[in-house]
């Protein structure tokens, strides 16, 4: 067993951190929270030039040919920096599903565009009930002269407003069981009939309502197999849950680091408040949450990277990390005191993102239910 990063991975981490420290300060993060698009096209181009979008994709499409574990490192650093922009949507939710189940034509068409920063993807999965169950998918795609017509409303769709393409999950057979009539489509965002509204959310992370009104999609845009999309959607969710844990881990580390630094400096009762055991114990439990998150997250990311099964690990890790990030921001805020609940402080950036990330791809309760089923309990 060797939990160390390789030398190349250490270099990747350091260069990512240095780059983001310089180019993605909290002032930019705050600016982007208010920005209509929610990201900086200049920064987007720079990270494309650095090869970040292509990192995990094969060299034959112009990518870096690196592993999910390398992507995990990048995501951790982006989480630490509160990186604003559609990177997660484009790479994890758009590019990876195309890489894993796309046809050769689809890969050749979309992956180079993703890699060079030209195409932004968004995943249109969740709907009105906001959950990740097969029964929640009610948007319909009806066959029409060999093509499909999509109708219905998707909700909480990150980065839809700036997307060039949607990975849209729709019901193609409503007579089959919930899991058996679902198909994944790649939809051009410029298609007539799509209307998008940005939602004002806790993390100001550009989640949208996306209405499909008779949107025509050619049948060659089916990603994977007709009516058999749900098992792949589950894999996308599990993979995304682990990838989101990487970001959350980076955010937690940032909160732990800023809290430890602050309590060493903040003087009350004539001593640094870090002397007090009440504060020390807060910091110790923050470390426990962070280290537990790292242990679970990297084990899971390594499993994806090496082709091992990761379904159990996705549930265990997302359940732990969802709760952990909440506890870390709560203890970090408590250790800082009043200064950290001011909107212009950095901590609220993480406080906001901790909740948004918890709710994505299944919160702790959702995943505990999954684990309970794996233990043998019969749950609906």
């Amino acid at each position: 067993m060797d939990p160390r990063l390789s030398e190349e991975q250490e270099i990747l981490r350091k260069s990512a951190r240095d780059f983001l420290t310089e180019k993605c300060p909290k002032s930019l993060v705050r600016e982007m929270e208010k920005d209509e698009k929610g990201y900086s096209p200049e920064l987007w181009k720079e990270i494309a030039d650095l090869g970040w979008m292509g990192l995990v994709f094969p060299e034959k499409y112009g990518g870096g040919g690196m592993s999910f574990l390398d992507l995990a490192i990048l995501l951790e650093e982006m989480g630490r920096a509160c990186f604003p922009g559609p990177f997660f949507s484009t790479v994890v939710l758009g590019g990876l599903p195309i890489l894993y189940i796309g046809t050769d034509e689809q890969k050749e068409k979309y992956l180079p565009e993703i890699i060079n920063g030209k195409a932004i993807f968004a995943m249109a999965l969740t709907e009105a009930d906001g959950t990740y169950n097969a029964s929640s998918v009610k948007v319909k795609a009806n066959a029409d002269n060999g093509n499909y017509v999509i109708n219905g409303t998707k909700l909480f769709i990150h980065d839809a407003y700036v997307a060039d393409y949607f990975i849209c999950v729709a019901r193609t057979d409503d007579k089959a069981k919930d899991e058996d009539g679902i198909t994944i489509f790649i939809v051009d965002a410029q298609s007539p009939g799509i209307s998008i509204t940005v939602l004002d959310t806790i993390a100001r992370d550009k989640q949208c309502e996306v209405v499909f009104d008779n949107v025509k999609v050619p049948k060659e845009n089916i990603l994977g197999k007709l009516n058999q999309g749900w098992s792949e959607v589950q894999k996308i969710i599990e993979r995304a849950a682990i990838a989101k844990c990487c970001e959350m881990l980076g955010g937690m580390e940032a909160v732990l680091d800023m809290t430890v630094a602050y309590v060493k400096e903040r003087i009350q009762f004539d001593v640094p408040v870090g002397v007090f055991q009440a504060i020390q114990h807060h910091c110790v439990y923050m470390l426990l949450e962070v280290e537990g998150s790292r242990a679970g997250t990297y084990d899971a990311a390594w499993r994806i990277s090496t082709g091992r099964p990761y379904s159990d690990e996705a549930a265990i890790t997302k359940a732990w990390v969802s709760d952990a990030y909440q506890r870390v921001v709560a203890l970090g805020t408590q250790s800082h005191g009043g200064v950290s609940i001011m909107e212009d402080h950095d901590l609220p950036r993480y406080f906001r993102r901790a909740k948004a990330a918890e709710l994505l791809f299944g919160d702790a309760r959702f995943h505990r239910k999954t684990v309970a089923r794996k233990l043998g309990f019969k749950l609906a």
Partner: protein
């Protein structure tokens, strides 16, 4: 990055598991569960393990070990606990400190005996007025020719009544300006005249001891490390080992047993929705604690300090908390039946849950209480100021 055990570690795990499947019979298990200290069946098993070099895998081959790492030690502890084989074997833990601080003669004298299972050594740190503040020990050792003369009292020295030797922290300089500078470590033959061992019992029924020293003569060659240098020795024994924790096979077995019990015997999960979610929560905490411990152990074997120090101790904090949660939840699941002692015909799961519930608080206190662990994580791991 690689999270698999090495082929050598897997082979060791398999060998030990198969050995204990066969040799850790019901007599041994009964002795372990009685918590009265290693009895005759347990001692026989320990000797058999020693003959196969299964007791001290980390030690050099010349002392009866296998020259493996902290991971092998973690595997050993995991297999012993999950088979209800005799534990603790403090002699091995003490031997780790002896390897660092002992002289060649002492290593040759004690280590092969511990590794072969012929002798065991009991910890002798705690006194009535020196618990977490271990540097406050008062048991006095006075130099007298070829000997030291020892007088005083130790408490909560488990297994002392079934061990051959005592790893004893004493005060050799009561005038030292800093109290931890006046300590010395000895290995004492527990059959020495003047030693009296009296039983004490925890609320779970676990036998521990108080040990009285009255003019006990200990030869100078039994001093470990320097005179007044005992603090260095105890630090290496308590915190120098690094890792050695992680695997949680025993806890996962208990979770499986409980889930099976709920599904087959007791309650319909649909009527008690808190049961599946709480059991899942316990499983998740167990698994995360396991991963933290394993990775900290792997870092220790590599001689690398991870990003934040204290990961191994943090995993101990988590597993201690999880143990309490597990057995409290188990008691709630069993309802009124959980209160029954094991001899009752109504006692479910052989009364094991009650015993473990009563024993769980011990684990967050012994070998450095959680509060001491938190102090060390805060000051050593995170670098927070002491004053």
């Amino acid at each position: 990055m690689d999270f698999e055990l090495t082929p050598e570690e897997k082979a060791f795990q398999k060998e030990l598991c198969e050995f204990l499947d066969k040799e850790c019979n019901e007599n041994v298990v009964a002795e372990t569960l009685s918590m009265q200290g290693a009895g005759p069946y347990s001692k026989e098993l320990i000797r058999k393990m020693g003959a196969r070099r299964l007791l001290a895998p980390r030690w050099p081959v010349e002392y009866g070990g296998r020259a493996m790492g902290a991971m092998a030690e973690a595997i050993k502890v995991d297999e012993i606990i999950s088979h209800h084989a005799p534990f603790p074997l403090d002699g091995v833990e003490i031997g780790n400190a002896l390897l660092i601080n002992g002289n060649e003669e002492q290593k040759k004298r004690f280590l092969p005996g511990v590794a072969s299972g012929e002798i065991d050594i009991a910890l002798g740190y705690t006194e009535p007025n020196a618990g977490s503040d271990v540097a406050s020990v008062q048991l006095r050792a006075v130099e007298d020719g070829d000997h030291f003369i020892l007088n005083g009292q130790k408490i909560y020295n488990s297994e002392a009544h079934v061990c051959e030797y005592h790893w004893l922290l004493t005060r050799t300089d009561p005038t030292a300006e800093k109290k931890h500078r006046g300590l010395s470590m000895f290995i004492v033959d527990l059959k020495s005249p003047g030693i009296t061992i009296r039983p004490l019992y925890t609320m779970a029924g676990l036998r521990t001891n108080e040990v009285f020293y009255e003019d006990v003569q200990v030869p100078k060659e039994n001093l470990v490390g320097e005179k007044n240098g005992g603090w260095v020795v105890i630090m290496s024994a308590l915190y120098g080992g690094g890792g050695g924790g992680g695997l949680a096979t025993g806890t996962k077995k208990v979770i499986d047993t409980l889930v099976k019990y709920v599904l087959e015997e007791k309650q319909d999960a649909d009527e008690n929705p808190w049961v599946p979610e709480t059991m899942a929560d316990i499983y998740i905490k167990t698994r995360i604690g396991e991963l933290m411990g394993l990775q900290a152990t792997a870092f220790a074997d590599l001689g690398v300090t991870p990003l934040y120090g204290g990961g191994a101790m943090a995993s101990r904090l988590l597993s201690g908390d999880t143990r309490r949660l597990l057995y409290n939840t188990a008691m709630q699941i069993l309802g009124p039946y959980s209160q029954l002692a094991k001899d009752s015909k109504w006692a479910p799961l052989k009364g094991e849950i009650l015993r473990e519930y009563m024993d769980a608080p011990r684990w967050t206190i012994v070998h450095g209480s959680q509060e001491i662990q938190k102090l060390l994580i805060a000051t050593r791991g995170l670098g927070l100021p002491r004053k």
